[in-house]
């Protein structure tokens, strides 16, 4: 059986809508990936726990509220506590350019801001997976 790329799409924090996350989820689906969607208002603990149970290759988080500098690194920290180092973690949403280097230093492999074509995100995932497909 062919290996499928599994992606957890999650909305950490208190955002009021998830239109962007749904657009990404749909684009990844149409690229042949299996997308586990967890919906709004997820804590980092919920995201990491779900990513373990679902055994995903990728965690894709979207934040609009401005809490990314706190929540994204927290997810990385929880993954490290569980000794999980083979999951690709990417982020998106309303994220100022000056915050991106810090997020990358924390282990967020790619940050995609509004206007990024979905094809770019798909290519990035395919080229940066940490496990063999």
């Amino acid at each position: 059986m062919e290996r499928k790329i599994r992606v957890l799409v999650a909305k950490p924090g208190l955002d009021g809508h998830d239109r962007g996350a749904k657009v990404i989820a749909r684009a990844l689906r149409d690229a042949g990936m299996e997308v586990v969607y967890t919906g709004l208002r997820q804590t980092p603990e919920q995201i990491v726990s779900a990513s373990i149970q679902e055994d995903v290759d990728v965690i894709a988080m979207s934040i609009l509220s401005g809490a990314h500098n706190h929540l994204f690194p927290r997810v990385m920290q929880l993954l490290a506590e569980k000794s999980i180092d083979d999951v690709l973690v990417i982020g998106g949403g309303v994220i100022p350019d000056e915050d991106i280097p810090g997020l990358k230093a924390a282990g967020i492999a790619g940050v995609f801001t509004p206007g990024t074509p979905t094809t770019e995100t798909i290519e990035f995932i395919k080229n940066n997976l940490k496990r063999g497909i």
Partner: protein, 359 residues
């Protein structure tokens, strides 16, 4: 990497990462999973396997979430397998059942896994039966399998679950829907969800009438085993008609004269608010108790295993036919049929001979 993260011991200890990675190996049919599954075999058979099935949008995920909550309140360990369809065009999938259940994500007594059908028809994915065994051996007390949104004939769940909850909602169709064959025959418990909507009472009445008629016609009784037999044997095209007939008569003979003639319960719920959930869970557990007490649990599992073994054997035969030397035999026989040298049935006999000789 997957190999080192999982092992029979880790799965047995309830390590969620090990369980998850083993289920992934099952999903991609990794041959190295078999050694682990074999080592886990002795520890299975303890969990109560509950199927939740019904049409798209009937509230299966929300019901599952509420059932998980009720079972956790009783201190039971609960696992969920939630199946959603894969795209027939791209192979991709949106697995969205989890949205309704995320409040349980950080509860260490709950394990939730979403599975895509990956082209499998029948309402489940191919991985479900092996994944169920993994979760059983891992020590979960209850395993809830949520099928894809079903239409009329996706009845695979009855081959895996001990107890099937069939979810209906008001407003789907007229009373002829309730008397059609297929999915309406597989419920051990009927649940009319969204019961606060208009028409719920009518749906309850129609399902009751359908069930009562089935009893009058001798086709269904709740714990009689006849019901079990019909549900597990009759709803499918038999693998071998003679064998299935035999099994059916065997079971029917064993149960004739059994006094427990009761029709499946028809319950109402409003999953969103939690209304009726306690009653539903009570009935799910009562079904398990009754199955165990009457010995039908064993009978049902035996019949399901017989079906699964038959299908697994058929798959082995099909893949054996794909091997080169067989392909040649199949090719030769096909040409002979085409050229009218032999007929189709002689070709089939010749192929069967060739297969049994080498096995």
């Amino acid at each position: 990497m997957d190999g080192s993260a999982t092992s029979p011991e880790l799965v047995r200890s309830g390590d969620q990462l090990a369980i998850a990675r083993l289920i992934s190996m099952v999903e991609r049919e990794d041959p190295s999973r078999l050694a682990i599954l074999k080592a886990l075999h002795a520890f299975g058979g303890r969990a109560h396997v509950v199927g939740i099935t019904g049409p798209p949008g009937s509230g299966k995920s929300t019901l599952t979430d509420k059932i998980v909550g009720a079972l956790r309140a009783q201190g039971r360990l609960v696992a969920v397998l939630a199946v959603d369809p894969s795209s027939p065009f791209t192979g991709g999938a949106i697995l969205g059942d989890r949205i309704r259940m995320q409040r349980h994500a950080t509860d260490p007594g709950v394990f939730i896994r979403s599975l895509a059908t990956r082209g499998h028809l029948g309402g489940l994915s191919r991985a479900v039966s092996e994944a169920t065994r993994v979760l059983d051996a891992a020590g979960y007390d209850d395993i809830i399998i949520e099928t894809v949104g079903v239409g009329q004939s996706e009845v695979d769940i009855v081959r895996i679950a001990d107890t099937v909850v069939l979810v209906s909602v008001p407003g789907l169709g007229d009373d002829i829907q309730a008397i059609k064959a297929g999915v309406m025959e597989i419920g051990d418990i009927f649940c009319v969800n969204k019961a606060d909507k208009d028409g719920a009472e009518r749906v309850v009445r129609e399902i009751r009438a359908m069930l009562e008629t089935a009893v009058l016609n001798g086709a269904a009784t709740r714990f009689s085993g006849l019901y079990v037999a019909r549900a597990t044997l009759g709803a499918h095209a038999p693998i071998s008609p003679a064998a299935d007939q035999g099994a059916f008569h065997h079971i029917a003979a064993q149960v004739s004269g059994h006094p427990n003639l009761e029709i499946p319960p028809v319950l109402t719920t409003v999953a969103e608010t939690g209304q009726g959930i306690d009653d539903l869970v009570k009935h799910i557990k009562a079904h398990e108790t009754a199955l165990t007490a009457t010995g039908y649990l064993r009978m049902r599992r035996e019949s399901n295993l017989a079906w699964e073994l038959g299908h697994a054997a058929a798959e082995r035969v099909l893949s054996a036919l794909e091997r080169d030397e067989r392909k040649e035999t199949v090719g030769e026989l096909s040409r002979a049929v085409l050229d009218k040298k032999i007929d189709f049935y002689d070709a089939l006999d010749a192929l069967e001979d060739a297969l049994t000789r080498s096995h």
